[in-house]
Symmetry: C2
Subunit: 113 residues, 2 copies
DNA sequence: CCTCTATTTAACTGTTTAGTTGATTGGAGG
DNA sequence: CCTCCAATCAACTAAACAGTTAAATAGAGG
């Protein structure tokens, strides 16, 4: 799958949108939590100590861009990760971020010495 | 490198920050352009038809989070990608986005038929 | 020292968007 | 039909942030 270069405008917008959707602390936590499997809105709201409306909105946003899927069962709505690629994404970023923290720690140590 | 689960707050913030930094159309274009190699602020500003100040700010943001590096030479400042991981990230997201576009196209076709 | 050019910084504006509050929908069960 | 509960929707507020304009910094060369 060869990528066009330079990237066309509409693709650029879609790519940026997807990154922006993931670039929100609460949504990162939601994804981290959904890694364990599907959960309802209220379960997630309780687990992350946030309001139901807030969580519902975040989940909708992620469902809209195709990261999450929903399943209705009685009064409850179950959300789950359908784009498994986000795992690879998060791992990648986590790696870079941890590397950064490690470097920073070394710096702090060398100064404190 | 085992990731803690659930992710600690400060790590969540850093991860979200990094995604948010990339989640901006102009910065995606800059990264796409810098894939060809380092370039100066003014070169990038001209290539992307944007103001020098605007580009300078975007480049600073990406340098701050460790995605880009800078090199001074006379009056010019050359920026380059130092975190090669962003390539993998973008490819990953591009793949997902293109997949999404493909599905959408099929849908449009099936309706138009 | 003066000027020119490249880059950065600062202050301001408008837009986007996360979070809250309150109302609404819709299924489950008496 | 009425009530309860989960989830969503709608309107609002506040904070984050992209882009612009204008000023400041810094190196190159006369």
């Amino acid at each position: 799958m060869a990528l066009p270069h330079p990237l066309p405008d509409d693709l650029v917008e879609l790519i940026a949108r997807r990154f922006r959707v993931i670039g929100e602390p609460m949504r990162v936590r939601l994804l981290d939590r959904l890694r364990d499997g599907e959960a309802t809105v209220s379960e997630l709201a309780e687990a992350l100590a946030a309001s139901q409306q807030n969580i519902s909105k975040h989940l909708s946003v992620m469902a809209d861009v195709g990261i999450l899927g929903r399943r209705k069962e009685g009064n409850h709505v179950y959300y789950r990760i359908v784009d498994e690629g986000v795992f690879a994404l998060c791992d990648q970023v986590c790696g870079a971020v941890q590397e950064q923290l490690r470097t920073l720690n070394e710096l702090v140590e060398s100064v404190g010495r």
